[in-house]
Every structure is written in structure tokens, then in C-alpha cells.
Symmetry: C2
Subunit: 266 residues, 2 copies
């Protein structure tokens, strides 16, 4: 399918893009995207495995309300899997599946983000339950910087998802309104993602000091695993933001999308 | 001075920009920039004040090697002042002083970043000293996720400063090389900034749990101050990244810079 670039604002990268698709700085580089995208997937899966091993091997495994101490372990796992890994893949859908129809990608983006949101909510239930049902005494909720950051991030995510649905998927909104909201949606999308990673790093540190403060400085294998989880999350986050913002990686509008003007925003 | 937009890649925003200066999405909005820039300065100064009050009032004040416990307090203060506040202002110089000559702005950018780097190094000396001279026993260095993140960030910063100097200020490099490196410099510039903030949030949590773990959950005034420091740093960071990446806020090349082609990159 022949492709050409489309006007500003409708789609693509965070910051707006050039009108002239052939300009050097915007020349598409799909093979380089594919390499970095693959590396990002490896780092993302590695993060999930590291956090899973932390909970499953070093912190006693996973349970639900039957054991509040082990129910907690679902919290970091679901947050890294849902709020970070799934979310990143939802954000990169337009670039990763660039040859699919826009409408299909929008639905896939919406459903991936919904999956990410559901994981985050279940992850929140896990931590509240593990606090509320802790024995002999319940553990207080929502006092730490981590909890404030996390709740703000999930609330923003909820608002972002609903605004995206109303603006881009439900019918009725004028194309000019959609175009105006798109950069806002993209900026907050990446802000929520980066906040999610920052919240995870703070949370990892919190749980580490609650669990192994005395031995942390002698770097037992658990401490090394924890530190590498954090570093992996940072590298994953940086790569995803790069993939999502580089204009060389943006999906170009197809010829028929351009001819059927309405469908550019559909 | 009349202004026009210049071709892609030489300057401006992180992601590349349009050739057509009059396009709606790239229309410059200086008054809005000024409002957000002022808000960013207020949040930045508030962060410094909050971290200063934490060290000065709640953590016993500031000292140098005479009292390792108090010497530590210079660490968060210098990192927030130098690595975050000064660094942000260094990053925003081209947009904040848009009517000055490019050459002057480059020097100002370089010296502000040098100031930021010096603060960061003194901030590192403070924490290493406070560990090494702690009584009765020295405190181990470089074991925590915070320390790994922080050292990596400062090393990247050092490399970034030197690469910028060699590429953009020292003579000799071809304009095509400078143009090619600029988006890399801008991406890593913001990555270092965001990493600095994430490292600060992790560090704040670490110090809080080392100091007031038992009382943190009852939210004494120190805990509230700590949480608000973190939230202020996040809002400051988000605003600075927005100001640095929005194409509506980029400095446009002046007419005489365009006529004297060389000076666009000088």
C-alpha cells in the first residue's frame, strides 16, 4: 500500500511532525524500530520474570486472601505486568502494527489499556487486602510517598482511558477537537507510563527496606535481584519512550485513509 | 527581529519539527510558555525549600566533615538544587531566552550545566563522607538501587556534558554531524533529568524509612513535608519536560542566523 505523510496533529508522535514525508529527519526506519522493539520486549519480559522470582522465590510465593503476607506479592507483579509491560505495548500498538487499519489499532489500543487498567486495579486490591487483613494488626494504608504517587497515577490512567474513549472511539466529536486533544493524550500517556515506573522504583525500595534493611548492604542475592529489577525497568522505560516519540518510527497514514479524509481520525 | 522557521534537525525540540512555521500545530505561543515557565520556577524553588527545611529543621541542620550525620543533609539539598533545579534551567535556556543570540545561549547552557554538575559532585562527596566517617562504624556505600541509579545518572551527565562541548562548542565538527547528534543530546538530556528525579524520589523514600519508619504511617509533619517534596518534584519534572518538548515553545531561528548559515549551528 503506498503511503504518504499526513498533516499535523492527527496522529503519530508526541510532539507533532513534518508535513514533508521525504525530509531526512523524518525518514522512516522500520528495521531499526523492529530491532529496538524486540530489545524492549526482552527487557519488559525480563522485568516481569525478575519481579516474579522476587515474590515467588525470595518472598514466599503467591496467595490470595488466605495469606495476606503472600497476597501482597501480587501487587508488584501485577503492577509491573499490567501497569508497565501491557501499558507499554498498548502505547506502541500504532507503531508496532503499522500496516493494520487505524480503526482496528484504536480498538486494540483501547482493549490493551483496559487490560492494563484491570491488572492495576487487581494489583491495588492485593495491597489493600494484604494491609487490611494483616495479623495481628492491620497495616495502615495510603501514608507513603509511594502510595500517593501510585494512586495519583492510577486515577490519571482511569481519566486518560475514558477521555480517549470519548474522544477517539465514540462518534460525535468534531475532527478539530480530536486533533487538539491528541497531543494532550500522548503527553499524559507517556507521563502516566513514566510515573508508573518511578512509582515502581520507589515501591521496590520501600519493600526492600521493610524486608531486608539489615542485610541489604551486604548485597545478598535477593538484593542484587532487586537492584537489577530496578535497572531493567529503567532501561525498558527509556526504550519505550524513545520508540513512542521518535518521528522516524511513526506510523504513516495510508493513501486510502488520506482519500477518505474522515477515516484518518476514525 | 523578524523570525522564520528553519529546516529540520538543527535545533528546537526533542522530536524534530515542521518545515512550515505557519502551520497551526507549530504556531508559537510565547505568553503561554511564560506562564508555565513561571509556574515551573515556583515549583522548582518550592522543592528546594521543602528539601532545605527537611534537612535544616527536621534532620538537625547542615555541617561538613565535622559532623557526618549532618553532612549527609547536603546530599539531598545539593542534588535537588543542582541536579534538578539548575539542570532544568540549563535545559530550558534556549526557550526561556529566545531573543538572545545562539552562541550566547550555548555558552550559558554549558555553564549552567557545569554548575549543575559541580553541585552534583559536591552532593556525592557529602554522602560518601557521611558514610565513610560515620561513628562508631562506617556505613557501606553503593549497595542500594538508589545509589546505582544515582551514580549511573551522574556518569551519563558527565559524558553528556563532554559530548555537548566537543560537538557544539569546540570548532571543527561538520554541521551534518552536529545536526545528527542534536536529537541524541536532547533525548539523553531529558532522560538524565527524569532519571535524576526518579533517583531523588527513591532516595527520599530510603532516607525516610531509615529515619522515621516507625512513625511514618501516622503521618507526622515531617512525613507530610517529605511526601509533598516528592509530589512537587514530580510536578516540576513533568512541567519542565513539557516546556522542553512542546514545538509551540521552541526558539525560532532569527533571520540573520538563517542568512549566515553557519551561525545556525554556531
Amino acid at each position: 500500500m503506498p503511503r504518504r505523510d499526513w498533516g499535523p496533529g492527527e496522529e503519530g508522535n508526541l510532539i507533532g511532525h513534518s508535513m514533508v514525508g521525504e525530509m531526512d529527519s523524518d525518514k522512516q526506519d522500520v528495521p531499526f524500530f523492529t530491532k529496538l522493539f524486540t530489545l524492549a520486549q526482552i527487557l519488559g519480559i525480563l522485568s516481569i520474570v525478575l519481579i516474579g522470582v522476587w515474590g515467588g522465590v525470595f518472598r514466599g510465593g503467591f496467595a490470595w486472601t488466605s495469606d495476606p503476607g503472600l497476597q501482597f506479592n501480587w501487587h508488584p507483579f501485577l503492577m509491573v505486568f499490567g501497569m508497565i509491560f501491557l501499558y507499554a505495548n498498548g502505547a506502541l500498538i500504532y507503531r508496532g502494527f503499522r500496516f493494520e487499519k487505524k480503526k482496528k489499532l484504536k480498538l486494540l489500543h483501547m482493549f490493551t489499556m483496559l487490560g492494563s487498567f484491570v491488572c492495576s486495579v487487581v494489583g491495588l486490591v492485593a495491597v489493600f487486602d494484604s494491609h487490611n487483613y494483616a495479623k495481628p494488626n492491620p497495616i495502615p494504608n495510603m501514608y507513603s510517598l509511594h502510595s500517593w504517587m501510585g494512586l495519583a497515577t492510577v486515577l490519571l490512567f482511569c481519566f486518560q482511558w475514558m477521555s480517549g474513549l470519548v474522544t477517539f472511539l465514540l462518534p460525535g466529536l468534531r475532527p478539530s477537537m480530536r486533533s487538539a486533544y491528541l497531543p494532550v493524550h500522548q503527553f499524559f500517556g507517556l507521563f502516566i507510563f513514566v510515573s508508573g515506573i518511578a512509582t515502581a522504583l520507589v515501591g521496590i525500595t520501600e519493600k526492600t527496606l521493610f524486608s531486608i534493611m539489615k542485610t541489604y548492604s551486604s548485597l545478598p542475592s535477593e538484593a542484587i535481584l532487586i537492584n537489577f529489577s530496578g535497572i531493567t525497568l529503567i532501561l525498558f522505560g527509556a526504550l519505550v519512550v524513545y520508540l513512542a516519540t521518535n518521528p522516524k518510527f511513526r506510523r504513516l497514514t495510508t493513501e486510502d485513509e488520506v482519500l477518505l479524509t474522515d477515516t484518518v481520525l476514525e
